[in-house]
Structure formats: C-alpha cells, structure tokens
Amino acid sequence: MTVPTAHLFVLAALLFALGILGFLVRRNVIIVLASIELMLNAANLTFLAASRQWSHATGRLDLDGPIFALFVILVAACEAAVGLALVIALYRIKKTVALDAASDLKG
C-alpha cells in the first residue's frame, strides 16, 4: 500500500474528533464508552502510521509503535470492563444509565 502517512494521520484525527464529539454530546453511558473506544482506536492508528513511516524512512523495522498499540488495546480492554461494571452499579442504584442521573457529586 503506497498511501502517504499524512492520510492515515488525517483519518486518525477525524476518528478522534468524532470520539470527542460523542463523549461530550451523548448522555447515554454506553454510547459515551463506545466513543472512548473510538478515540483509543484513533490513537492506535496514529501509533501504527508513525511506526510505518519511521520503518520506511530508516529501512529498519520499528517495533515500538506496534507494542504501544498492543498496550493501548490492553488498557482499552481493562477500561471497558471497569466502565461496564460501573454502568451496572449505576443502573442498580439509579435504574437508568443516563449520565444526568449521576450528578450527586456535582456540588
């Protein structure tokens, strides 16, 4: 594939912006968590695109990018598990998953 790295970066930036938009605008916890996953994927795409560019430019295999992407996937899995457990706890107390319902600590 001879697609320039800039296009991969642009795709990642657009995905991240979409994730930010969903995170800020939506009030349903499940959709907010899905938006966070979208942002983490955009970060992964950036890591891989930069690693690909670096390998291409130097002619040596750069493995830091793929390994960081692996760790990001691991953290995303942990985040999803804890986030969904929090959703279950929230539902048990409030009987809803709307973020507006969880404003007891808002002050």
């Binding site: 697609v3 790295t5 800039a6 642009v10 979409l18 349903n28 992964n44 430019a57 899995a77 279950i88």
Partner: protein, 191 residues
C-alpha cells in the same frame, strides 16, 4: 488496488464512527463500533500490521464487543420504549464549540507536523515483509518491554478484582447505610 481498498475502508470507518455518535439506540451505536473495528483491522492489514489486525479482531471485536452487548442485553437497554429514560443528546453550544476546537487543533497539528515525503512511496525491503513480525514483537516484548509487560499483567489482575467488587450484588443490609444510620447533623433520620 490496495490504495482504493484503503480509501473505501477509511470511508467505512468514518461512516461507522458517525453511526457510533449519532445512533439513537445504544445497541445500534455498539454495532456501528463493531463495523468501525472491522474496517480498522482491514486498514491495519493493508498497512502491513498483520499481528495487530488479528489482535484488533480478537480483543476488540471478540472480547470487548461481547462485553458491551452483554451489558446492553442484561440491563434491557435495547427496548425502544425505555429509551427516553436513558438519556439522549445534549447539543449545547459550549460542548459543540469544545469538540470543534479540539478537532481544529488536531487538524492544525496534523497539517504542521505530518511528514510529506518528497518522493513517491517506493516499497523498501522492510515494507514488503510487513511491520510487525510476531517473532520480532515477542523478542522485544520479552526483553526491552519486560517491565511494562509485567505491569500489564498486574493491571489485568487489578481490573478483574475491581470488576467483581463493583458488579457483585450487594446484600440488602449493606445496600443503603444512609437510610439506617444518619449523621449527627441530619434531622429526622434515626441515629
């Protein structure tokens, strides 16, 4: 050929991303997310990251997605009649301005930082074999990245304990201590 496929997959990723943000029902949002994961795995594969593409499908589409769908089904969030209770869209001007501002800053950084190869992309020896051989990744992961790897296993253990503690059904007598014992300054609550 691969270039056309990349732009098709990129368009698919963005379309599914819009679906994640704009879907009315959480179920549709999560299924759009699944589509975005598949498109991204295709992009990784095209870009030469075979191992990462496989990991993306196994972990994201296999494990995380099942978790999302399981919670949606468990809490009966797929019911359209119940949808209103679970929160809709808050389109405040400040939120939109913040999201637009962050997107603008990202685009600016991208435009300033992104490398522009003067010559067209000519595949080198590295390009042809892919960028993440499993053997090479394993060698680096178990030598240079040994400490982060062990920390990751610790993180997984902590997550497991946290999830069990959070999602466990609490006993009724421990459910709402505030209703049994009041603080001294509270009136009308049994102390």
């Amino acid at each position: 050929m691969a270039e056309i496929l990349f732009y098709l997959l990129a368009a698919g990723t963005l379309a599914f991303g819009v679906g994640v943000v704009a879907a009315r029902m959480p179920l549709h949002s999560v299924l759009s997310l699944l589509g975005a994961f598949f498109c991204l795995a295709g992009i990784y594969l095209l870009a030469g990251f075979q191992f990462l593409a496989a990991t993306q499908l196994l972990v994201y589409a296999g494990a995380i997605m099942v978790l999302f769908l399981f919670v949606i089904m468990l809490l009966n969030l797929g019911d359209p009649a119940e949808l209103k209770r679970h929160g809709g869209i808050a389109l405040g001007g400040r939120r939109l301005a913040l999201a637009g501002g962050i997107a603008g800053v990202l685009a600016l950084i991208g435009a300033l930082v992104v490398p522009r190869p003067a010559a067209p992309w000519r595949p080198t020896a590295v390009d042809r074999g892919g960028y993440d051989g499993v053997r090479e990744i394993a060698e680096v992961l178990f030598s240079r990245y040994m400490l982060p790897f062990e920390a990751a296993s610790l993180l997984l253990l902590a997550t497991m304990i946290a999830v069990v503690a959070l999602a466990k059904r609490q006993r009724p007598e421990r459910m709402a201590p505030r209703e049994r014992i009041g603080w001294p300054w509270e009136k009308g609550v049994e102390q």
